[in-house]
Each structure stands twice: as C-alpha cells, then as structure tokens.
Amino acid sequence: MTVLIPQSLHDALAAATANPDAQIIQGGTDLMVEVNFNHRKPTDVIALRRVDEIRNYVVTADKKNVVIGSGLPYREMEHGELAQLLPALAQAARTVGSPQIRAAGSIGGNLGTCSPAGDALPVLSALDAVINLQTATTSREISVHDFMVGVKRNARQPGELIVSATLPIINGWQGYAKVGVRNAMVISIASCCLVIDREKGSIGVALGSVGPTIIRCRETEQWLAMQIDLKNISIVAPNLLKEFGDRVAKESKPIDDHRSTAAYRRHAVATLSRRLLTRANTQ
C-alpha cells in the first residue's frame, strides 16, 4: 500500500491519472469509517489534504457565480462572505456532523461518496450546480443532476478528480432544512432545499435522504410557478401551501431503513418544504 500526499493540484492530477484505481481521500469522514470497520482495505491512496488550490473559493469576475474548491471544509461555509452569497449552503454546512467533522468534510467528499444523505447535495441540486472534473490532460463540466447517478454512485471516471462546484449567486431567497433524531451530530432522515430566483421567476425544490439520490421536484416546481407570482414576495394561501407539501411528498421516493420509515420521511419533506416556502415569503 502506498499513500501519496501531493502538494499541488498539478501533482494530484498526475498521481490520479497515473493510478486510476487509487482511492482518493479528502477529509476522510466517509472513507475512514469503512476502513475502521474493515469494509474497505485500500491498496493505494491519494490524499488531497495538502492541495491548496481546491481548499478555497472564488467569486467570478461578473459576480454571477461562486466556484467552490472541492476540498474547502464545511466550517469555512458557515459564516462570512460565502454564507452571505449562498445562505442555503451555509445552513446545510452548519448541520453537518460536529465541529470536528466540519473541519474535515467538504463538498468534494459529499459528491465523491454521493450518498443521498449528503447535506450539501440538495443545495447543489436546487441551485443547478456545475461540477468540474479533471485529469492530468482533460477538464470537463457536468451538471450535478447528471453527476449523481444513484446510491453512492456518480459519473466520476477512474483517474478523474472532482475539482470544484460552481453555484450561481441568485437574486431571491434560498433555504435548507433537515430532520434528524436530535439537533446536533445527525445524519439526515429527510432534508429539503428551496431556492426562489425572483429575477427569473423560477423555483428549485430538492430533497435529500428520500430516494436513491437527490430528488428535484420538477412537477411541483412547474405547478407552483403557475399558481403564484415567484418574482414578488406573495403570501401563499393555506390551501396552496398544503397542496405544495403534498405534491413534494408525492415526488419523493423514500424507503424504510435503519434511520426512519418511508411514511415518516414523506410527512417530513411535506412539512419541511411548506416551512421553507413560508419563510421564503415572509423574510
């Protein structure tokens, strides 16, 4: 077994391309659990913790997008400029594990593992994020919707590294809400991200932990856009609010598992989505 610790993105890409089967480790919060429980015994490992280029973020010159390095720890998203530009991402980041986990975990890790419970993933989905993947010689952009293929499966090819996620800065409202068995330190039972772009008059609703991967409620989004004026803050009538939640629940595909039941999860996403829509029109 070898452990490589490249000191630059260039060296990391060269290492990944030279050894496409190597296990990539970023924060370690998923991989080391599998190693500790003998579910996985990696042979070659490439550790990204010293690749500074993926551990920061930039706002593009036109101020329309934020490009977030795949290794930027969640703790850096909780407050400050990034939290102002992407409040839903900040809310999601604050619900990730504990301070210890948020010092290690990153968007790249959530995407790499591609669990439907990954806290940042509903935010990436609702905002139509674009993922950048690179090898030593190639670079491609892929929509997050195409990147997430199934339960713990994604479109990353052997030899590729997840380099960044690009999220739009919207003029509107965005929020994230999650249900777990307690307040701190939980993996979500159900989660929801809601984004209303007041300029475009569009809405994005994405659900976590209620399907094989993140679910975008496209039918509900189209339905709501016909019911209310999304370009302006408008109080949503109680009957519309109820139907909105019911429709969101209908688009979810939850299962019974060790964390919760399908019935509770359906109820939870209906409630979470109604709460977020109410907040969007009162804040």
Binding site: V3, V33, N36, F37, V45, S98, P99, A103, M185
Partner: protein
C-alpha cells in the same frame, strides 16, 4: 510527499515520533494508542460520532479516528497528553475535577481537547458557543451540566492567570 514504507514520522506533541511495523492505512487514533503509547485519546464509535478521540491537528479539532495517520506526516498533532509539558494540569482539566465534570471519564479527554481548542480561539465564549463547540463530544453520564460549569470555571481561571 509520500508514505509507502512501513516506517514514517509523525509530529506529535512537539516531538518527532517514528511509526514502524504499521499498515499505512491505520487511523491516527489507532497509531497514537497502539503504536506510540499515547492512550489518552479514546476509541469508542470509530466513525466520528462520539468525539472521544478528538485531537488538535494543524490548529483544528478533529476526530483522530477519521484521519489516516500516514496522511498526517507533515501535520502538527496535539493530543490530550501534550496539553502541558509536565505533569501539571491545565485550567480546563483542573476545572473538570473541581466541578465534578468527570464521571466514568471515557469522554473526558476528547472534551478537554475540544474545550482547550475553543478557549484558545475564543477565551470568553457564550453558552451557545460552548454548546456548539462540544456538540460533537458525547457524554452519557453527566448530562453536561457540570461540564458547562467546568468551562465557566476554566474561563475565569484562565482570565485571572492571563492578567
């Protein structure tokens, strides 16, 4: 930089420590306890949920069970054993004793490290900030009340000794 042999060095508590005869995929927690004779960090959940293995790595409190030790060869690691250079106690450790913040003691080293890290960065935290800082450290004995009192006492002691 790479660790591909069975021998590599870690910087623990200000000392260069050689790790030998180890599988390079071992967690930092395992290496600290079983290879380097530093059993202060505790292993309970091994999945980053309990915080009893908390150490300071490059200025951040992290779960040592989730760090692959061989990837930490260029990091500065401080364990509960390294909080003081001699046998004396830190203000936080002392406050845990005087306030009765220790019952079975298993979570204590992780809590001490997490609280030292908090107070080094934020010497006068609010109650909410304390709760947030130790939200990743689970204690099943105390109900946390005496631990919060210990933090308050440590804050006062540290302020007095810094004057």
């Amino acid at each position: 930089m790479s660790a591909n042999s069975e021998v590599y060095d870690l910087n623990v508590n200000g000392q260069k420590r050689q790790v030998r005869d180890a599988w390079v995929g071992e967690s930092l927690l395992y290496v600290l306890r079983e290879r380097l004779g530093l059993p202060g960090s505790k292993g309970a959940c091994e999945q980053g949920e309990c915080g009893s293995c908390t150490v300071i790595m490059d200025g951040q409190a992290v779960c040592s069970c989730l760090v692959m030790a061989a990837t930490a060869i260029d990091s500065k690691i401080t364990t509960v054993e390294g909080l003081t250079q001699d046998d004396s106690l830190t203000a936080v450790q002392d406050a845990f004793i005087t306030e009765g913040g220790v019952q079975c003691g298993f979570c204590t080293p992780g809590l001490i490290v997490a609280i030292e890290h908090l107070l080094d960065n934020n010497p006068d935290p609010s109650q909410l900030e304390v709760k947030e800082a130790i939200s990743g450290n689970i204690c099943r004995c105390t109900g946390y009340g005496r631990i919060f009192e210990a933090v308050n006492t440590a804050v006062t002691t540290r302020r007095a000794t810094n004057l």
